[in-house]
């Protein structure tokens, strides 16, 4: 039997950066590049990996992996690009430096030190998922053993799709003792919800209100059961249960839904934690970093022509949010990305698996020990910054101005949105996270709609449908399922084509995605 000669390949143990759970994995590489991943039996993942971890090598060796900087689709020399960047940073007041994910803590500190050295005043995170706000709950490391002491667990969202490697622990905990009570809060029936003791199915966009109600926060004039669709007795019972069980835990896994008010959600979680005295454990794609202002403030400055250049470090923005294109067309954009994009000036960058550094996970700060030559042409963040100015890594701290969240005002907005009469034949679009839907590498996802809606719209199970929102149009194959309520359409929000369909609003300088009305019809 043919075997790989171990003298030519090396396995480097590192940490999977595709979610915050911090599974250990091995990167197999040789002189020609990365060959694959290996499963570390004595590591935190017990020799197993989720689809994202298993497919890591596919992403590292993606056929569209960028090897040279490109400007509007044409290749550009690094020297020329360095000059362009220097010209940009000669006018630091006209520049906004932003960042999203695929950054280590050291990268982030370098960027902040660089901004301070060059005099850039506008620094913001463009990572729109609520995880940028959930970072504050990462204070205390989480150990999987903690769950075995708990008799009650509240899960907001779906860990099966968000953090599959934790989901196994959760299922085993639930099945190990009949008295273990698993409460799931979600807007649609997910794999986690199928084995919940209590499934609190709330209306789209109302999770923050339900969390506030569980924290016994009374908002004047707000009928929580009427708005959320969850009975008052159930809310009182679960609130009491959480308060009573001293080892109860609260998990949050809410990426990609693209519907709720992130600030209100985080406020709800804070108050629930304070009321019950329980720890909040967020499972996220990537714990985002903070700038000195929110991206909404940058948008305002772009509109007023105060900012001319936007330099983004990370891997997604601005390609993943085409709905912002109209505003972003007013500025020159330089963005780092691992994969080719035809718009703007794109700089090839190394991925976290190829780096050395530290990342924040649920287990605390974990060291990435990739130390691998990145894919041909890709550069580390430091090397890109050095093209303009060499700086020392400082403490890298900037703080966001505090915003007082007006609960009543924000709750009113949610209620108003729910009560707005829908257009005839229009549905509400809900984003979801699918474990194996990884950057579109596993093919297209199906649009989930309720059979009652399908019947009303004249759609059959094998049909392809066209979906139109205010920001764009896309075609999907459909899946009829009662997991989603009538009036809702759900789709995996992983690719720019899907993310670009969602509507957004700016409130208190925070970009929020809001429930999006879409029209669906049978194609051709």
């Amino acid at each position: 039997m043919k075997k790989v000669d171990p003298t030519f390949t090396t396995v480097k143990k590192t940490v999977c950066p595709f979610c915050s759970f911090g599974c250990e994995l091995g990167v197999v590489f040789d002189d020609f590049g990365i060959r694959g991943v290996e499963y570390i039996k004595d590591g935190s993942s017990e020799g197993r990996l989720c689809p994202r971890g298993s497919a890591a090598a596919l992403y590292l060796n993606h056929p569209l992996r960028l090897s040279m900087p490109i400007k509007n689709g044409k290749t550009l020399d690094w020297t020329k690009l360095g000059k362009d960047l220097k010209n940009v940073f000669d006018k630091p007041r006209k520049v906004a430096v932003t960042f999203d994910r695929n950054l280590t803590i050291e990268d982030y500190q370098s960027i902040i030190s660089f901004c301070k050295a060059t005099g850039v005043e506008n620094i913001a995170s463009t990572y729109f998922e609520p995880e940028a706000l959930l970072r504050e709950f990462f204070g205390k490391p989480f150990s999987v053993d903690e769950i075995n002491k708990a008799r009650m667990v509240l899960v907001v969202g779906d860990p099966f799709n968000q953090t599959p490697m934790f989901s196994k622990t959760l299922i085993e905990w639930k099945l190990s003792n009949r008295k273990n009570r698993l409460v799931v809060v979600d807007t649609m029936k997910t794999p986690t919800a199928t084995f919940a003791s209590d499934f609190l199915k709330c209306r789209v966009d109302t999770e923050p209100l339900l969390l506030l109600a569980l924290a016994q926060e009374n908002i004047e004039g707000l009928d929580v059961p009427g708005v959320t669709g969850v009975a008052a007795s159930t809310i009182a019972d679960i609130s009491k249960g959480l308060h009573k069980d001293k080892d109860a835990l609260i998990f949050v896994c809410l990426s990609f839904a693209h519907t709720y008010d992130s600030m209100l959600l985080v406020e709800g979680l804070k108050r629930l934690s304070a009321y019950t005295g329980k720890k909040i454990i967020p499972f996220v794609e990537f714990p985002g970093f903070e700038g000195n202002q929110r991206f909404g403030a940058i948008i305002e400055k772009i509109k007023k022509k105060k900012i001319k250049y936007l330099v983004n470090f990370g891997e997604l923005f601005p390609f993943y949010y085409p709905q912002l294109g109209k505003i972003l067309r007013r500025v020159s954009i330089f963005a780092t990305a691992p994969i080719k994009h035809k718009d703007h000036t794109v700089l090839p960058v190394a991925l976290n698996l190829e780096k050395q550094g530290t990342i924040l996970t649920n287990r605390g700060e974990q060291a990435l020990s990739g130390d691998i030559n990145p894919a041909s042409g890709a550069r580390m963040v430091n090397e890109i910054l050095d093209l303009v100015k060499q700086t020392k890594i400082g403490d890298g701290a900037v703080a966001l101005p505090e915003v007082k969240v007006d609960l009543a005002e924000r709750a009113k907005k949610i209620v108003a949105r729910i009560k707005t009469p829908k257009k005839k034949k229009s549905l509400r679009l809900l984003g979801e996270k699918i474990a194996y839907s990884f950057l579109g590498l596993f093919g297209e996802e199906k649009l989930k709609i309720n059979p009652l809606d399908a019947e009303a719209l004249g759609i059959k199970p094998t049909d392809t449908v066209s979906l139109k929102s205010k920001h764009g149009e896309a075609d999907f194959r459909i899946r009829l399922t009662t997991d989603v309520d009538p009036g809702i359409a759900a789709i995996a929000a992983e690719t720019p084509e899907v993310k670009g369909l969602f509507e957004y609003e700016v409130a208190d300088s925070m970009v929020n995605f809001v429930p999006t009305s879409v029209e669906i019809w049978r194609k051709g």
Binding site: R48, R52, P164, Y436
Partner: protein, 158 residues
């Protein structure tokens, strides 16, 4: 002793880690397929490496061979002419019909890896196992399946 990839239906939760691992190891083409059961569950379909494989009988150019010692049924990409006879002959439908790089896609049990197939290593719930004939008989794999839903199957088993 010949070993096979076996699926324990009671444990499979349809996360498709196996497919991801296979895809990453074989230049972006998964050799483990998935059965989509009425949109309710995804179950992996792996090559059984049969004792008397019909794909070998169907191959007009003898591109598929069986190693009697290991039980491994392999396809040579140099000899394969991409006629898809093996795909049509396979009674389990595990050889993917669309050709990739003009050859059929056939599981090789990751024979380049010492610790067995990558799909088994990746399996997040431990449903895929790499077992010999005797172990398979002892296991009663899939005998307890009572529900289409992965989590309720586990519940019944517990």
């Amino acid at each position: 002793m010949a070993k096979r990839i076996v699926l324990d239906l009671d444990l499979c939760c349809g996360c498709r880690s196996c497919e991801a691992a296979c895809k990453a190891a074989h230049k972006g083409e998964a050799r483990i397929r998935h059965g989509d059961i009425a949109g309710e569950a995804y179950l992996p379909l792996a090559c059984k490496h049969c004792k008397d494989p019909l794909c070998i009988a169907a191959c007009p150019v003898d591109a598929i061979k069986r190693d009697d010692e290991t039980g491994l049924v392999t396809r040579s990409s140099f000899i394969c002419i991409g006629c898809q006879s093996c795909a049509y002959a396979c009674p389990f439908g595990v050889i993917d019909a669309p050709l990739v790089r003009h050859v059929s896609q056939k599981c090789d049990l990751c024979n380049d890896r010492e610790d067995g197939p990558r799909c088994v290593a990746a399996c997040s719930s431990g449903a895929l196992k790499f077992l010999g004939d005797e172990e398979i008989k002892k296991h009663q794999i899939g005998m307890r399946m009572v529900s289409k839903d992965a989590f309720f199957r586990r519940k019944a088993w517990t």
